[in-house]
């Protein structure tokens, strides 16, 4: 059970007023708010424990290193990875995908090879692969989705061939909310010995993820959507693949020995963690995981599903409102358009009422093009949102509808 009153107390920013109205924050899919314990962790680290990790022999450096490695262990448990060596910290989902696209691509992708992605990917899971394809002369193939926003996994067999080197697909769509049957996609890909990267940015905050059960080869997500500080992210990769991949960036911390003739690299995971990582915020990501575990991901998921069902029902009751994304399995977000009112107009007026939603292309132009749209309005929920806030959203949408009549 979610004790909403107490939960909201944990997130200080929720008390903010915007244009004299209480903030109604419905842009959680863009970034989530931070609980007190995460803020305190960052604050306390800078006050009491700040020294570069993996380097110094001195007390504080060792303390920081230990906390950092504890965060890695928390992440390992959180997604049920087998080994800590398989958890690599990055700057975010984008950083993680670029790491794989570059490093895996360098090792395994050649001219004429193919990479499969889906029509519902965030730009972050499109552009790194396009860059790779430009470098290598490879090409991208697309798994389409139907008008309800359901991935046409039935077409996978036709798309896969002996030149397919990797499949990169989102776990949950940042626009449609659709939760994709990735376990099934992975099983199919593995029949052809093709590895799969799963973009978990929108799934991890809402659903329990078990990378071993999924058997995914790479799983990536961001800390900032998971109630942790910005500039943190995770790349999970199977050890045997990561071992075969060259380092993504060179620098400190990722080496074993350096001479001008030859440099050898540190073992996993440090091989992929060049330079001074954002260790303070990574430690705070560990605190966010603790907070989620304490609240219970199952409780979070149940409550958010109630919010999603309620919002969907109430939004559909508004005349002329169309929701994009009608899959049965969705994460807690709704993208919509109201009559023929421009998404920017809707968003600007909601903003002045203190309601934060996302508008525009939602970093998924090809997805929107499927519906012939250049923008939508998206309300995305977290477990600190309330049914009253959804009522407020809907009341204001009704008013906006009248303003444009």
């Amino acid at each position: 059970m979610i004790d909403i009153k107490n939960i909201r107390k944990d997130f200080p920013v929720l008390n903010t007023a915007v244009y004299g109205n209480p903030l109604i924050y419905l842009d959680n899919a863009a970034t989530a708010q931070k609980p007190e314990c995460v803020i305190q962790t960052v604050d306390e680290l800078y006050r009491t424990c700040n020294a570069n990790i993996h380097r110094g022999v001195h007390f504080m450096s060792e303390q920081c290193t230990e906390k950092y490695e504890q965060a890695r262990e928390k992440i390992r448990q959180f997604i049920n990875a087998e080994k800590k060596a398989e958890i690599i910290f990055t700057s975010g989902t984008t950083g993680a995908i670029n790491t794989v696209a570059t490093s895996f691509g360098e090792r395994f992708v050649s001219s004429e090879d193919e990479i499969i992605i889906s029509e519902m990917e965030h730009h972050s899971n499109i552009v790194p692969w396009q860059l790779l394809c430009e470098r290598k002369g490879a090409k991208i193939k697309i798994i389409p989705f139907d008008d309800k926003g359901i991935l046409r996994t039935d077409l996978l067999d036709e798309l896969i061939n002996e030149r397919t080197k990797i499949i990169a697909v989102t776990h949950a769509s940042n626009v449609l909310g659709t939760i994709n049957p990735i376990k099934q996609i992975i099983a199919k890909a593995h029949k052809y010995n093709i590895p799969v990267l799963v973009d978990g940015a929108q799934a991890v905050p809402h659903e329990n993820v078990d990378v071993r059960d999924l058997d995914c080869d790479f799983y990536v997500f961001s800390g900032h959507k998971l109630y942790a500080p910005t500039g943190t992210g995770v790349l999970y990769g199977k050890e045997k693949l990561l071992e075969q991949m060259p380092p993504y960036q060179g620098g400190g911390d990722m080496i074993a020995t350096v001479t001008f003739e030859k440099t050898t690299y540190a073992p996993l995971p440090l091989k992929f963690e060049a330079g001074t990582l954002n260790f303070t915020d990574v430690i705070a990501l560990g605190a966010a995981i603790d907070y989620i575990n304490k609240t219970g991901l199952q409780n979070i998921a149940e409550y958010e599903h109630q919010l999603l069902d309620y919002a969907t029902r109430k939004l559909l009751a508004i005349e002329g409102l169309k929701i994009y994304g009608e899959a049965a399995e969705k994460v807690a977000l709704v993208s919509f358009l109201l009559n023929n009112i421009h998404h920017l107009d809707t968003g600007m007026i909601l903003d002045k009422k203190g309601i934060a939603v996302r508008t525009g292309a939602l970093c998924a132009e090809p997805l929107l093009a499927h519906f012939g749209k250049t923008g939508m309005v998206r309300a995305s929920f977290a477990f600190y949102n309330t049914f009253d806030e959804i009522d407020a959203l809907c009341e204001n949408l009704e008013k906006i509808s009248l303003m444009f009549k």
Binding site: H343, L344, D345, T359, T374, M403, F404
Partner: protein
């Protein structure tokens, strides 16, 4: 009316509004009243493209004065452009280039000037002034 007189008139109209919703309602009305740009003028050349809304601005030069025409797919944006047109249209290139658009600040519309909205007011004003510079150069106006 001079550019400044027109600006003062708009500021006076805005002073009657008590909150943002009133301002937006006004902008929606002015936006609706602005004649739509002919589809054939909605070309790449006239487009100020952004992630949020599309804006087209066209200009013609007659008898030493510039007449602007513009459109947007978003109505509030269109309302804002119609104010810019109201202020700047029908003036000489030099008057437009030198215009200090203080009404934007005084009406509170500068809140729409955020740099992330690259197709916001700033880009529209820049485009309108660029037309003026181009016409001035072309017609050797002193």
């Amino acid at each position: 009316m001079t550019i400044n007189e027109k600006q003062n008139q708009i500021i006076e109209e805005f002073s009657a509004f008590t909150d943002w919703i009133d301002k937006y309602e006004y902008l929606i009305e002015t936006g609706k009243n602005l004649a739509a740009l002919d589809e054939k003028h909605k070309t790449e050349q006239h487009l100020i493209k952004g992630c949020q809304s599309r804006v087209w601005i066209d200009a013609e030069y007659t008898d030493g004065k510039i007449i602007y025409k513009a459109d947007s797919d978003a109505i509030i944006t269109k309302g804002i452009i119609s104010l810019l047109i109201e202020v700047m249209s029908g003036h000489t290139p030099s008057e437009i280039i030198d215009a200090d658009l203080f009404f934007i600040h005084k009406t509170g519309l500068q809140e729409n000037l955020s740099p992330t909205r690259s197709n916001g007011l700033l880009a529209m004003i820049k485009q309108m002034k660029l037309y003026a510079i181009a016409f001035k150069a072309k017609h050797n106006e002193l």
